[in-house]
């Protein structure tokens, strides 16, 4: 279903999420906005790439991030954010996760195992049954004695948490607001 542009976005951009978040974190004083900034950077990159794929995706990603921060700073009249002026891609390279680390190989499996283990119990069980045992959502519901709707909600939550672990090394869940707080309550009740 994903288009070529979608694929490019996943392969060339999302792999840099951890580095992007670090950059945003270093250069933006408001932790609670990181999540929002990340999303905005992605939207800008995706939009621009629709007109022509950048030759150097990573450099383009970080340039977009820098522009966005500059726009926001201007609007918020935040005067001093010096590190931004010093930004050079090479600074990012230092602690950047190499795409290969999660694109392939045993590191990816290790990371995935860790991501799975970070899920709450029920959610972990649902994701496993669905992904590894390949049960349908309906069969998962039967197996666990919960409603299909609840299974669906666990899956939605699992996607969120897996994405956070896999792409951002869990930075946003520590620093940002929980992604779907209102669902958490429902699930706790469901459990």
């Amino acid at each position: 279903m994903p288009t070529a542009l979608d694929r490019w976005f996943i392969d060339a951009i999302l792999v840099h999420e951890e580095a992007l978040l670090r950059y945003l974190q270093r250069n933006w004083p408001h932790r609670d906005e990181l999540h929002d900034l990340r999303q905005e950077v992605y939207a800008r990159v995706y939009q621009a790439a629709g007109k022509g794929l950048p030759q150097q995706p990573k450099a383009f990603l970080f340039a977009s991030a820098r522009h966005l921060l500059a726009d926001r700073a201007r609007r918020a009249r935040v005067v001093s954010i010096e590190p931004m002026g010093d930004f050079e891609p090479s600074h990012v390279l230092v602690d950047e996760v190499s795409p290969e680390r999660w694109c392939g190989g045993r590191q990816a499996l290790k990371r995935l195992a860790e991501a799975l283990d970070r899920l709450p119990d029920r959610c972990r069980e649902v994701v496993w049954l669905r992904r590894v045992d390949e049960l349908s959502q309906k069969d998962v519901a039967l197996r666990l004695g919960i409603s299909e709707k609840t299974v669906e909600k666990h899956i939605a939550k699992g996607m969120h948490l897996l994405a956070a672990s896999l792409f951002s090394g869990d930075l946003p869940s520590r620093d940002g607001a929980p992604a779907i707080p209102e669902h958490d309550d429902e699930r706790r009740r469901a459990d």
């Binding site: 994903p2 979608d6 976005f9 996943i10 999302l14 906005e33 999540h35 929002d36 999303q39 905005e40 992605y42 939207a43 800008r44 995706y46 939009q47 290969e100 999660w102 392939g104 190989g105 045993r106 990816a108 499996l109 290790k110 995935l112 195992a113 860790e114 991501a115 799975l116 283990d117 972990r124 069980e125 994701v127 496993w128 049954l129 669905r130 992904r131 590894v132 045992d133 349908s136 959502q137 309906k138 197996r143 299909e148 299974v151 669906e152 909600k153 899956i155 939605a156 939550k157 699992g158 996607m159 969120h160 897996l162 994405a163 896999l166 792409f167 607001a177 992604a179 779907i180 669902h183």
Partner: protein, 362 residues
């Protein structure tokens, strides 16, 4: 432009994806999803990000392979040393080692080398060397014989210290039986390859029995490798003697002396000895450092070499691809990385499956 809007986009995206995961969307819903995705790029990127994570999670199957129970293993299952080792030592997408070895299943391997060995069995024989020391004592013509069996699973390398001070490094999927008596040190290489670092002991020759031939050393370093068809001996230090076993059925063959820097290939029809620089000889043993080193080798040979170490096999689909010449050193535990490298620099297309990587001409 507040944070809530964005959080909202992720929540809605997750809800759509979870619904889609439950079954195909009704046409009206599919249209609603399309409309939502088209309404704002932020919607689309949030959707793609979660979709990518969910797709990636399919690889959990690789972790689940070998877990015999329904439902997930306990938390931290893959972080424990035994299983962590599984992830660390197997190639990409290879199933992790399922459980610690059951020593009740320990048994002597058949001496004839069978060409195909199910990966499952190799895994079951996990770390025979690490934990499975089968020592028996007996009397044999007035001598006490100390005997032990060491083996490695596919993808494993083990260093074994023998009680005479010698050392053996076992390559992937290899098995040796060691018998040390007062008169002789005798090692049977049942399968695979091993590097021997022999402690000097002029009264007890160190004999490696490779089936058809014996390799005799006093104090030296060499490797012996046993394939279905041939035996390969590489000497990096000292001198070894290649000879027929005493009382061999097929009559005696000439004894060959192999100095350091020799490589001998023993086949049914004879022995081929090549003299190579010692550095090259050392390079042939680089697998002990995790590397496979090739110089102008055919892709077919390179693939076969990788396959000695990995459950996920490199399959060469056509003769053109198989004839490509490859040089360089590669980590043997990263067949996928090797395939990707090939795709970049050679006219080769790779198809990645869970248990194989098929290499074909485009």
């Amino acid at each position: 432009m507040n944070g809530d809007a964005r959080t909202d986009a992720e929540r809605v995206a997750a809800d759509w994806l979870a619904r889609q995961d439950g079954g195909a969307l009704a046409p009206a819903d599919a249209a609603a999803l399309e409309a939502w995705l088209g309404a704002d790029t932020r919607h689309r990127v949030a959707f793609l990000r979660l979709l990518a994570a969910w797709d990636e999670s399919r690889r959990l199957q690789a972790l689940g392979a070998g877990w015999p129970h329904a439902g997930p293993p306990p938390r931290g299952h893959w972080a424990t040393p035994a299983h962590g080792h599984g992830i660390a030592s197997l190639g990409d997408d290879a199933p992790p080692l399922p459980a610690p070895p059951d020593l009740r299943e320990l048994r002597l391997a058949p001496r004839t080398h069978t060409a195909r060995r199910p990966a499952a069995r190799a895994v079951a024989a996990l770390c025979l060397a690490a934990c499975g020391l089968l020592a028996t004592w007996g009397w044999q013509s007035y001598h006490r014989v100390e005997s032990a069996l060491y083996g490695t699973a596919l993808g494993g390398i083990e260093t074994v210290s023998l009680s005479d001070g010698s050392q053996a490094i076992l390559a992937s999927d290899s098995l040796i039986e060691v018998q040390l008596s007062r008169r002789q040190r005798r090692i049977e290489l049942a399968r695979g390859e091993a590097i021997f670092d022999v402690a000097k002991d002029s009264r007890r020759p160190f004999v490696v029995d490779g089936g058809d031939r014996e390799v005799v050393a006093i104090g030296t370093r060499f490797s012996v490798r046993r394939d279905a068809r041939d035996l390969r001996v590489v000497v990096t230090e000292g001198t070894v003697r290649l000879q027929s076993p005493a009382g061999g059925k097929r009559g005696t063959r000439p004894t060959t002396l192999l100095p350091a820097g020799s490589m001998a290939l023993v086949r049914a029809d004879g022995v081929l000895v090549r003299s190579i620089p010692i550095a090259d000889a050392e390079r042939l043993l680089d697998w002990r450092n995790g590397l496979l080193v090739f110089r102008d080798a055919t892709l077919a040979d390179v693939a076969a070499e990788f396959n000695r170490y990995n459950a996920r096999k490199l399959v060469v689909a056509d003769a053109d691809a198989g004839a490509l010449r490859i040089g360089g050193s590669f980590r043997w535990d990263n067949a996928e990385g090797f395939a990707r490298l090939l795709e970049r620099g050679f006219p080769v297309r790779a198809a990645y499956a869970a248990d194989s990587i098929v290499l074909a001409s485009p």
